[in-house]
Assembly symmetry: D3
């Protein structure tokens, strides 16, 4: 039960989210993943966009609730990193523009640890006025 | 007041935290920064390690409170990303091992936006038992 | 000022919420109560349904603010148990279907402890898709 | 993927926590479980007591991190119900006395939903003075 | 059930906390109150100091739990104003120096609204270094 | 880096918010400020009203993001004091009626500490029914 250095799930998800050239590393590892973008003042739209992306690319099976449940909590944890303290956007007058990467794989040495899911977010958060914004990052990890 | 693509403060801090080879990009930009490591079950030790690192490397001036204040809030926001929902470690029986990068610079096109500070964290969070852990990331950004 | 074993307000409220056959225990104790159901993606609708139920059944007097205030905080505390960490539903793309029981009585040995109010919630929380949900529980207790 | 009425995991865990006579229902379902008690002003002791109980009774395998991870988050969610708003005890001058029940089983109609874990808590929370306390409840549910 | 302009409980408590010359207004209203100071890195010490002050000056009766319960929640709400977002001090490496005023009275036109309690806090919060601090304020109000 | 007694930014903002006769003290100090009122069930409207007031009275320069950023966080911190625990209003069925004062100045002895901003709030919070409400206060302070 130790994290294997050459397959750090969170790191590869976060790097791929920050820099597109890293995405091929996910492919080399043979892991399922999806990449997408979402901009919104409504946090439910952010959740929905990531869920939709992950289902369309078969990162999770939408027909099994445990997979949706695992992804949902990973998304919420990633959003905490972006919003820092309360999971609210438009209700506190701010908006986000985010790139997201969802990756699924086993980052541990032991096969019995099974699949884990990482949701990485990178983009901007700020007032609903172009330019009045700074960068933000989030990473959620869960067993699936 | 728009973020300049070639000097994205948060991105360069986060990439440098995930992958040491990016640190030279910070130097190319001529920005002040520090890199360090901290492992603890006590969140105050994490805060203290980052503050000490940033002061020793002159990223902030310890004698001016506004700089300490800016850094403190950036650290707290980064820790939110790592802890996701409540800023607690040992009191909820978990521990972290983190690499941190603090960078100071102006990521905007306008000189009058002045300096901003980014605190990037990457490492593991988990039970106080080797291996029972997964990765975590945090980024806090503030004007200074 | 000790809780009397035979009149544990929270326990009888929670049991009645989980299993309808317990409701007659509340009646045996001579306590005022109400039972209801609410399903919504909007947390304010959950609050409103419980307040309306409690007022209609005279569990609290709507014309006295201190009673509304006591009930409101008990409801919010119960919702914390259901939502775990942030009091949001639709804004984070989830919905609830809840049965609620509100009970008012004195669970203490001493008459001077006066009335207390318990709000018990049991049901499901999950994605706005039938079946993509798991159970949730909440209990809020306040002096009134 | 719908919850099966005769095997509601959360309900049976909560009822067993409130009323010992329900525990035999868990056994009838053939599910693994543990029952225990913990009283403390330190939330990490509450977490540790439940983890230890669950491992000793083989509700989870301590050697697989994904099982510890699933249990940990279920415990934290249950504690949210007890503490309502921030996961703190002694640091805000309060203490708990709790009975806990951990149950593991599949509450869904579909076998592929696999095992889920429920952590139910019931007891008192209050000032560190006997009698200055009221009841509290928490339920955390996670896929495992 | 409307707040009476000449007896705004929260306002008189807050003003008295900010400016000692207002304390005689509380006396004119015939309300029970206490004034005190507390400085600490431990939030439980802040809670304890206010509780002790209020009991010693008979603002609340320590032998009745409902009064302790009402005061406790008013204190916690006031501390939220001071700490803004998480009720932690030393665990996130900060300390407070606070003046507190607790007042008990009925701010409403209707006698049946009974007594309410206000806890007002004013002072500084900051790093555990003299001068690295700024001001903070909190007000908690509850029915008693 | 110590707070100067005769120019306590937070105190003068809070006192001016509670009692209009204090506003002339801000003027004596030569500090920029604004005073306004806002009533709403939507927290984003509260944020917007304060931002608009501060920009119109030139307390901050709307064209510089660092000033908007400083003000935004001061507003959010003040709202925490008013809402105590989660930054929500209508979504948890409550409304506020607030007077706000924003002040900008240097409360420290050292000129190099530069300008700081204080956002003070005072008013009522409660059910969306006239009279079902109690007082609330908030103060947010930030370097600018």
């Amino acid at each position: 039960m130790s994290l294997a250095n050459e397959k750090l799930l969170g790191k590869v998800a976060m790097l791929s989210c920050l820099d597109d050239s890293y995405v091929k590393q996910i492919e080399k590892l043979g892991w399922r993943y999806c990449v997408g973008k979402v901009g919104s003042m409504e946090s439910n739209k952010v959740v929905a966009a990531i869920e939709t992306g992950a289902k369309k690319e078969d990162v999770i099976k939408g027909s099994i609730y445990r997979e949706t449940h695992a992804l949902y909590h990973a998304i919420m944890e990633a959003i905490y990193g972006v919003t820092r303290g309360h999971v609210q956007l438009g209700t506190v007058l701010r908006t986000v523009g985010l790139r997201f990467v969802v990756v699924r794989g086993n980052p541990y040495d032991q096969a019995e640890e099974g699949d884990w899911i990482a949701v990485a977010l990178y983009g901007t958060i700020g007032a609903p006025v172009k330019g009045l914004e700074h960068e933000a990052v989030g990473l959620g990890i869960n067993h699936i």
